[in-house]
């Protein structure tokens, strides 16, 4: 396996790399159970988190992951930087690279920004979400969580429900699950599930079709109001038409299906309050596994600064 510098999309990885990252995530998670939750794998390395969009779990998850690998973490605050003065991304990166960063973890509202940065610097660039394009670390933690719960991803049926059009999670997670042999279906409002999304993915019309398909995992996407300029659906309809209502939750419980959500949850929109209490709701497992998956990703990459 050639050393990989950047992680921009799941698509760009080989099957071997996907399995390797998932395998080492298992080993990384074992570190959490030790009294000293730290290994010296990245000791002396500099990790920068560069988030142009708000984030709680992804940013802190990457920071915790880097700390547990003994890296030095710098947090770049966009709102108090020259970015607000109109500095171009190239100039920001040049400035930060003068500070000899080894890993840059970037989130941006524009699709394609991490690839531009990766082509412009020697540091390993990890895409922590770019527009509606890709969110590979989320894909790894989702695959890891399903694998941990069921023992394997292969042959599992996963339905992803909600705003497919604007969701980088839908793109990256559906990609990794299919690469690992799962069957994936999409369901959501007609205005948010574009026909071109269905290459290799089943389209389900409504909840009746979802239950009839007998999924193992029901993966709810967040309604991303910040990414939507004009209304794509009547907001008051969403929960009843596409959300996990209490009635649907009873059926999900009865059939032992797993619930997942990338967070943050809009309560009363994607999920009813009771759904987060459901025993097979794996949202907190996803967060915990996110740290292990991101440790594994950091471990897998080789910055060109080292050569």
């Amino acid at each position: 396996m050639n050393p990989r510098k950047d992680l921009i999309t799941v698509e760009s990885l080989s099957d071997e790399e996907i399995y390797t990252i998932l395998e080492s995530a298992v080993a990384m998670k074992e570190i959490f159970t030790k009294s000293v939750k730290k290994v010296p794998v990245l000791k002396g390395k500099s990790v920068l988190t560069l988030f142009y969009e708000p984030s709680t779990r992804t940013r802190s998850s990457f920071e915790v992951a880097a700390h547990r690998l003994s890296a030095d973490v710098t947090t770049f605050s966009v709102s108090t930087s020259s970015v607000v003065k109109g500095e171009s991304i190239h100039d920001t990166i040049d400035t930060l690279m003068s500070m000899k960063m080894d890993y840059i973890i970037v989130r941006h509202k524009n699709s394609g920004i991490p690839a531009v940065i990766a082509g412009h610097c020697n540091a390993s660039v990890i895409n922590a979400g770019d527009g509606a394009h890709a969110h590979p670390s989320q894909a790894f933690l989702d695959a890891f969580t399903i694998r941990e719960h069921y023992g394997s991803v292969e042959g599992r049926r996963v339905v992803i429900i909600g705003d497919i059009l604007h969701s980088r999670v839908a793109r990256s997670t559906s990609c990794i699950l299919r690469r690992l042999g799962a069957h994936v279906a999409f369901m959501g409002p007609g205005s948010l599930v574009p026909p071109e999304a269905h290459t290799g993915v089943k389209r389900l019309e409504d909840w009746d079709a979802v239950f009839a398909w007998k999924p193992d995992v029901i993966y709810l996407l967040r309604v991303q109001n910040e990414r939507i300029d004009s209304p794509f659906f009547p907001a008051s309809d969403y929960h009843a038409a596409f959300g996990v209502t209490e009635q649907r939750l009873r059926r999900i419980e009865g059939e032992g299906m797993v619930l997942m959500h990338p967070g943050p949850v809009n309560r009363g929109v994607e999920l009813c309050d009771a759904a987060t209490e459901y025993g097979n709701c794996l949202i907190c497992n996803q967060v915990e596994n996110g740290i292990a998956a991101r440790m594994s990703i950091l471990y897998h990459l080789t910055p060109a600064t080292l050569s």
């Binding site: 171009s88 991304i89 190239h90 941006h108 524009n110 699709s111 394609g112 920004i113 690839a115 531009v116 770019d130 527009g131 509606a132 394009h133 890709a134 980088r168 793109r171 574009p194 071109e196 999304a197 290459t199 300029d229």
Partner: protein, 434 residues
């Protein structure tokens, strides 16, 4: 007056081998009649190859195997180069055009060249006269400052400054009452409204054609209906007001069908253009965020390319244009959403048209001449307000046997944003001949 004798050239429209005498004094009784019945001035005689008596000491251009054809006219050129002076933009665009076989161009208004008043036009014309080796005809603004709020002074632009086409450059006049009244008012002045059909409410902050590429890259899609609703609106406005309409940068198959129906009805005075980029490339060429392929309107499907070419061949689409838009290298290195849209074409216009369309048999020389020389000149440079009659183009020689690689040396326009960089093209242009 010095006469130039061209020997053993191939007259492109019908493939005859000819000798021709280029005579700057020969204004009348030209032996070369172009389609549309226009005699080509400056040509005093044409004979089958080898039969023309050539006086001693005459200037002779042996042109064995080269094509003799009228030079191209480009109806859609943006000459502004970000960060450069207006004079340099004018000079470079003129040089680029002549290299690509383009003798004249319609210069569209832009922030740097805002032709909404007489002074701006006068200063542009003086600079073009001094700096440009190609003919530059400015288009006046539809609205003051291209803001879309109030009409520019059409009578002053048309009657005193000879402006014949109005355009707000790359912006669609979203203020429909303003446009409606402008078209009513300007119909009597014989002005042409050159507008790109669009529905800004649907196309704002969109970056690619809705399809596999837009989905894969997470780019907000620009639905074809945004253009088609605009096409329907503009055709209806033109019919209602009697104004002449020129639809710019048509990009969808349905738009072509709508224009065809409008022309067949005979009730709308409409002409239309397509950019070469929309005939040659599709959204799939964007690949992995290649910003060279970012255009407005976006590159569409293969079926759209085919419908557009069909439209050119049957005359529904009158002109093929360059949509030449210089962008600085840094600006195109940015991410796809931030990078500016547009490609440069002028320098390589005829070699690209030949290599990509004529040589593979997609377009004949006669069709190319209609779409790239005669019809655009008839729209931009009509003679005495007479539709269909135009200022005649100069002749040029084109050698299809010469091959070259597109690189910095073949692009003088100052920027490199063409998808053909590194590709081999056929053809070299000799223009002007005298």
């Amino acid at each position: 007056m010095i006469k130039t004798y061209i020997t053993h050239a191939v007259w492109a429209p019908d493939g005859r081998a000819v000798d021709a005498c280029l005579d700057p004094a020969a204004e009348q009784a030209s032996p070369v009649i172009l389609p549309g019945g226009i005699p080509l001035p400056g040509v005093s005689c044409v004979a089958p190859a080898g039969e023309m008596p050539i006086p001693q000491h005459a200037r002779v251009l042996p042109a064995h195997g080269k094509l003799l054809l009228p030079a191209l006219y480009d109806l859609h050129t943006n000459i502004e180069i970000p960060g450069r002076s207006k004079r340099e933009c004018i000079m470079r665009a003129g040089e680029a055009a002549v290299r690509g076989g383009v003798w004249g161009m319609l210069v569209l208004p832009s922030p740097a060249f805002c032709f909404d008043n007489g002074a701006a036009l006068d200063s542009f014309r003086a600079a073009a006269e001094e700096r440009s080796v190609a003919d530059m005809t400015p288009a006046g603004c539809i609205s003051r400052g291209m803001q879309g709020n109030e009409q520019a002074p059409y009578a002053a632009l048309a009657l005193m400054r000879g402006i014949h086409i109005l355009s707000d450059g790359e912006t669609f006049p979203a203020n429909l009452p303003m446009l409606y009244h402008a078209m009513q008012y300007a119909a009597d002045l014989g002005l042409i409204f050159a507008v790109r059909a669009d529905t800004p409410a649907l196309s704002a902050r969109t970056y690619a054609h809705p399809g596999t590429t837009a989905y894969r890259l997470g780019l907000t899609p620009c639905p074809p209906c945004a253009e088609e609703i605009g096409t329907a609106t503009l055709l209806r406005l033109a019919e209602a007001t009697g104004a002449r309409l020129h639809l710019q940068l048509v990009s969808t198959a349905e738009s072509v069908r709508m224009i065809r129906r409008a022309k067949e009805s005979g009730r709308v005075r409409v002409t239309a253009e397509v950019a070469l980029q929309h005939l040659l490339y599709t959204h799939e060429d964007i690949g992995d965020y290649n910003t060279v392929f970012k255009t407005v309107p976006p590159l569409r499907d293969r079926a759209d390319c085919e419908a557009l070419l069909e439209g050119v061949k049957d005359g529904t689409i009158d002109c093929i244009v360059s949509a030449h838009t210089p962008c600085t290298p840094f600006s195109k290195k940015q991410d796809f959403i931030t990078a500016p849209a547009g490609m440069v074409w002028l320098d390589i216009m005829l070699p690209a048209l030949y290599t990509k369309l004529v040589k593979p048999g997609l377009l004949s020389w006669a069709e190319l001449m209609q779409a790239c020389c005669l019809k655009p000149a008839a729209i931009a440079r009509p003679r005495e307000q007479e539709e269909g009659a135009y200022i005649a183009p100069p002749l040029m020689l084109f050698d299809p046997a010469v091959e070259f690689t597109v690189d910095e040396r073949s692009l003088t326009c100052g920027t490199l944003n063409t998808p053909l960089t590194g590709e081999r093209l056929c053809g070299s242009v000799t223009l002007p001949l005298q």
